[in-house]
Amino acid sequence: MRFAEEMMLLLLDDEGGKFRRVPEWSLRYALGGGVLMDLALEDRIDTDLESLILVDSTPVGDSLLDPLLADIAADTESRDARFWVERAAGRASEIREEAIARLVERGVLERTEDRFLWVFRTRRYPLVDGHAEREVKLRIMEVLFSDEVPGPRDIVIICLVDACGILKELLSAREIAHVTPRVEQVRKMDLIGRAVSKAIWDIETSLARAAQPHIV
């Protein structure tokens, strides 16, 4: 399962079959970052503190990943991970829709349509098979509540859920306080994850400044 699919599963409110609301910009960056991270784990790209490097332009054979890989392969400039996180975030709506469609196709979710006030159509995605969702939540909890060296996929999913605020939906305030140092530790470990967090942080800071212009 790709990170975008795992993210959408974690965003799902099991009771109502609706996706929880998180800030739009943070979800866009997290979904875009997730695609880059999948490309890194597929050995197509690599990163260091300064740049993102194409390792292998051979398509993965996955329509979630290959459009961005083709963009990176076609680019002639040296760019950093932040540039590509922002570029990938521009495709977030397509990534989201494809991730949901895959979850429906796999039989994890079901797509249903209701009418609100007999007029407005609303879409819900009730969970059909909870196994994948439980597995990803368990992976996150195992890393957060231990001091073991996390695996590469665990690091990525923690970067992503932290970046778009999903952790608050998974844990109580008390648990969040307990795991915050661990989250800080783990989220630094992936260089693309760092670029995602920094991009979201910059937007939040600029929004806070716009709301309170006296803050420098």
């Binding site: 690599d46 260091d48 503190l49 060296v149 996390p150 590469p152 630094k188």
Partner: protein, 107 residues
Amino acid sequence: MNIEKITQGAVTVFAVGGRLDAPGARQFREAVSGAVGRILLDVADVDYISSAGLRALMEVQRDSAAQEEALALCNLHPHVRDVLKASGFLGFLAVHEDRASALESMG
């Protein structure tokens, strides 16, 4: 990437040289996988590490932890040390100044 394997007492030393980038990381994993017991990575001749190199280090560290064996690094190039520090890896890895002090510490 050059990787030399040396047994020094109870410790297997891998003297690693070159770039620990995506191709280097693959070679590194192949060379180190299957090693048992205490492992010392002497990275004196590694002057570059990327995300792929960090992942390879992490996997080796996880393998060692699963076997309840020690893993340590020594002779870090300043750039490699900077990347390990920025990514928080220094919190997970035992790092020594040089091979002699590492071997003494690892027994």
